[in-house]
């Protein structure tokens, strides 16, 4: 069943045409990796899907309903949650407060402070710490936990490994892989192609705002994605 549909989506930052006619679908239970070089339009695309950026044209369908004009706060209640690039925690609040503030406005469901701590054990001793005092990995875990507290049907993750120490990346990805195994639907922006291919069921590669390659992660080779990533060849649109 298709959970998210993006149709001919266009998004701009002033004169910069960041997203150009992007179309793809995400099925329930699927993990889609969105890869591409810096400036490819991945973050803008994710923010537009979450309602944080107004599209210039195109449609966003969620569970079949057109949510293109729905503001970010209301889109969250339909089940779309974004973990933004750079974590963007409320640094003046504790970890627990960061989680609670999201729970207040989200949907009801299985996620609560206890289940988030279970998924991210590194937060167990840090619940009452100010978010500003956390390590990068702990901040990322809190940011993902905050999004999970809204009980989303679709989780959008923007650059989860960016700026993290390798050991923190491993810890965060261990928790993410458990989420994926549990049937979560995820759109993941990741610079590390190898890691993206490992966790995703499907891959979409963007270049200069356009989708230049998409297909099943199992059938996608690292070399092929890398070529599309850097625009080294005219990538074919896979039809698998």
């Amino acid at each position: 069943m298709t959970l998210l549909g993006v149709e001919q989506l266009e998004a701009r930052h002033g004169l910069l045409h960041a997203v150009r006619g992007v179309t793809f679908e995400v099925a329930a239970g699927e993990t889609l990796a969105l890869v591409g070089a810096n400036g490819a339009g991945k973050t803008t695309l994710l923010r537009t899907i979450a309602g944080a950026h107004r599209p210039a044209a195109g449609r966003i369908l969620f569970e079949g309903a057109d949510v293109t004009a729905v503001p970010a706060y209301a889109r969250l209640r339909t089940g779309v949650a974004l973990v933004p690039e750079g974590r963007r925690l409320f640094t003046g609040m504790t970890v627990k407060e960061n989680l609670m503030v999201a729970a207040t406005h989200g949907r009801s469901g299985p996620w609560n402070v206890d289940t988030v701590v279970e998924a991210f054990p590194m937060l167990r001793q840090r619940l009452n710490s100010r978010a500003a005092n956390l390590s990068g990995g702990e901040q990322q875990a809190t940011a993902i936990g905050r999004a999970l507290m809204t009980n989303p049907k679709l989780l959008l993750l923007d650059e989860v490994s960016l700026g993290l120490a390798p050991i923190a990346v491993e810890a965060v990805y261990r928790s993410l892989e458990a989420l994926i195994a549990g049937g979560a639907t995820i759109v993941l922006v990741e610079q590390d192609i190898g890691r993206a291919l490992r966790v995703a069921t499907r891959v979409v590669c963007m270049l200069e705002g356009r989708v230049v390659l998409q297909g099943s992660a199992k059938e996608m080779t690292r070399e092929r994605v890398t070529e599309a990533y850097f625009g080294l060849q005219h990538a074919r649109r896979a039809t698998w």
């Binding site: 209640r77 963007r88 003046g92 609040m93 207040t104 406005h105």
Partner: protein, 300 residues
Amino acid sequence: MIWVTQLLNGILLGGYYALLACGLSFMFGVMRIINLAHGDLAILSACLVFLIADTTGISPFVALIVVLPVMALIGWGLQRWMLERSLRAGVLVPLLTTFGLAIVIENGLFEYFGADTRSLAPYIGDFAYDSWAITSNVYIGSLAALIFVLAVVLLGGLKLFLTYTPLGRSIRATAEDPDTAALVGINTRAVYAIAAAIAVATAGLAGVFLAMRAVFSPYSGPEQLIFAFEAVVIGGIGSLSGTLVGGIVLGVAQTFGAQINPQGFLITGHVVFLAVLAGRLALGGLRSRGGIPGLRTRPP
């Protein structure tokens, strides 16, 4: 002993300044708006209570029950229809907007009430001038004590509200990062409107107590704005506990100044304000001095 009395009176006067400054600090902390109409909104509230008390004969304390929700509604409407739009035009436009609003309120009140000074003191009977003897030589005014207690309860209550309630956490989140607040489901427009309602209602409360303890006229607003602004800057912009401290420092400075010289009431307060301001600037800018997390000034 006179200095002890003056110290106590200064602290109690500081309670009034803290009450007055609370809304100004809160609005800046949440919305980054310096509301130049803050003093005039306080006077508007005083005029509304005066009108009710004068025409119906009911106690100003009872009239407050009607006027405070009206002031909250005014704050909500101001945010929705005026400040929100002016904020979209840049950070300086709300300053001009609230300056214009101040002029409109002042002249509107002048048109309706005239230039006469008024007071709510006659409507609260002996309470306006009653005092309690702490010792045989030290007295404090009962109304001043009530205002001080109210200021402590209001500022403390607001702090607890922001820390422990879902709406309070939403206000703090919005104050810190409105874009991310929207991403966790917070309707930031509604939060701003609620914050404006709280800020204007507290200004209204302060205005009514000003009218009980002193006289006021349609043009008293700017002077009250200056006192509120001084208390906020002394205590730390955006910090509610700092606002109480700032109010007390200002109040004590003024009463000590008046004790030294009858003309020294205002000037001593201004000198202390300028000294703190200069100290803050020397120590690295007008940054917040702690207080409630999330209600702090951010670099632009």
